[in-house]
Symmetry: C2
Subunit: 397 residues, 2 copies
Amino acid sequence: MLSKKVLELSGQHSVIRDIFEFGMERAKEVGAENVFDFSIGNPSVPAPKEVDDTAVKYIQDGDPVAVHGYTSNAGIYEVRDAVAKSLNRRFSTDYRADNIFMTIGAAAAIGICFKSLVDGPEDEIITFAPYFPEYQVYAQGAGCKLTVIPAETDSFQIDFERLEAAISEHTKAVLINSPNNPSGAVYSEETIKRLAKLLETKQKEIGHSIYIISDEPYREIVYDGIKLPHIPSYYNNTLVCYSFSKSLSIPGERIGYIIAPSQAEDFDDLLAVFIAAGRLLSYVSVPALYQKVVGDCVDLTSDLSVYQANKDLFYHALIEMGYECVEPGGAFYLFPKALEPDANAFCERAKKYDLLMVPGDSFGCPGYVRISYCVPTERIEKALPLFQQLIDEYKER
Amino acid sequence: MLSKKVLELSGQHSVIRDIFEFGMERAKEVGAENVFDFSIGNPSVPAPKEVDDTAVKYIQDGDPVAVHGYTSNAGIYEVRDAVAKSLNRRFSTDYRADNIFMTIGAAAAIGICFKSLVDGPEDEIITFAPYFPEYQVYAQGAGCKLTVIPAETDSFQIDFERLEAAISEHTKAVLINSPNNPSGAVYSEETIKRLAKLLETKQKEIGHSIYIISDEPYREIVYDGIKLPHIPSYYNNTLVCYSFSKSLSIPGERIGYIIAPSQAEDFDDLLAVFIAAGRLLSYVSVPALYQKVVGDCVDLTSDLSVYQANKDLFYHALIEMGYECVEPGGAFYLFPKALEPDANAFCERAKKYDLLMVPGDSFGCPGYVRISYCVPTERIEKALPLFQQLIDEYKER
């Protein structure tokens, strides 16, 4: 006598989990060093030493009750203030603690933003393929519709014609994710300016605000000197969802935040609404110790240089072999075209070489595959000849 | 253009927050040592030394990437196994890791249980006054109805006549909280047996399962040798929601779990449904480091003896002065009758003595007040003459 809706979701086939389990089984047969699991998007570098030192300092020198005590719903004031000041240094903004709402990772940040903006099943959030599949689940949780604009596969920027046609009176927000999982694309300043202009126009036409929800867990992982536009500097009604999972390599500790800029239309209500939305999701507060730790380490990142090295090596090698792929500007994914129309069949064939990749179908973008390169560089070096054999097999067909 | 429902919740007046803020303001005027804030239910004793030592050990000696890495949705297998074995030692059960689902505190455990059992607004969960007010918010979040059975104020056990009358085909679960916040009552074995028997009968009558959701954050805080019945040993369809917040004094770290006994009717689906419910609530995984820490410290508790000492001192002193109060069996609250019918007016009068208490109205039990005694014993000693003055004022009226 369980919830029918939740039971249905629980029964849905998870492609990524299947690949992971296949990899585990296969590792038992041929040895873990011979299975090339490029399916998982976990940071492969440790947290900066300062993160661990700061945690130990709080444990050993902090007030023994307060260090593990409840923190306020919106987060610790000093941590929010530290985040605001760090953002100001980076993006020439003028945030205060009041603009920052701490969350249990970016997932909670997105869940809270969705819940804060929608009222019922007719309400709609628009996003763009390829997209992180859990967005569908968060939308279901908030009780609204997620409308997906098909991918613009030439550059993985935005198909503005289709976006304009999709916006309606039911549109509450447009969800973007740049650097993107799975494509690695970074939206250019031109894309952001055009998006801002379109939404300004549509807001006036429709008569209510349309928010940009900017999911930015990969903000610190950008390549080749690319400068990431800070969205609230281009569009007032922006909610930024951030996580320290990737930048500080602490995904398990679940620390993130929402930026709510003062110039957002509903700013006076936003913090209170975030708190209420969090309570509806049964959140209480953000983990205490690592919340304090990120407050002290907010300007640091892990040594992320391995991702640039991996991207350079992997991308250029695949292109040279003849794979088609848009060069990623950030994140730690390649998103090449599969060598046959059905990416699932392609991934099955790749498995014969013990190359594990995720079909783009999972991300709303059939015909492509996601390759996560957050792995030691040697793994990529060892896998490259297998990618060559794979494409050779297709050439011989 | 925010969610109307969430905006409405965000505007709801929080009595406990008002008291807290009054206390802060008043402390500025007369000094913190002269304000007796008995409104807050935070542990007042530190975590056991082993908790901190274990955390430092993992940080310094653990695999530097894995220690802060994502953990699986259901929690770390070894931690779940350690919890199961600890419960087996305590309650002569035969739990395995599969019976344990780690959660981000008891709040998340309750949110996940609600979401897992209900499908729509006609579905109903029954609880008993006095009750933790956030239960209403979690029910709203799950999209179901919370039906409250009025308090049985003679002993704060269960009013079975009213419960029986309230159960209908829409009843999905009965939510209990023993030791209770705010009354401190512990349900006797007789109460649990009677509840189990009634629900067995009603399940057959109605033709579907009715779960007991047992919210047990105060399980380790019981007094005078009282033995707490382990609910799944009396009733198969029980889901236990536990938190380490009070037992290990780490409320800010947000670690708890659900017990799903193998004999529960829907056991084969339960773990998968909990995972799906958690995803709908935008959870990803339980904080990694402290999840590992509780796994290693699962048999420990903080030194909880101060709560027994405080209960003895405070309860007997109030009774001697002439207050009416049921002696608590656990938790760290007294729930005496207000000295006038309107508990809000009584609390206002108490404020003149800088005694801060929470009116029972917040807990669905008007005419009573909650006194949290998770404070240093000296604070209580210093406050007792003021309680005397307060009752004297009423006697003189």
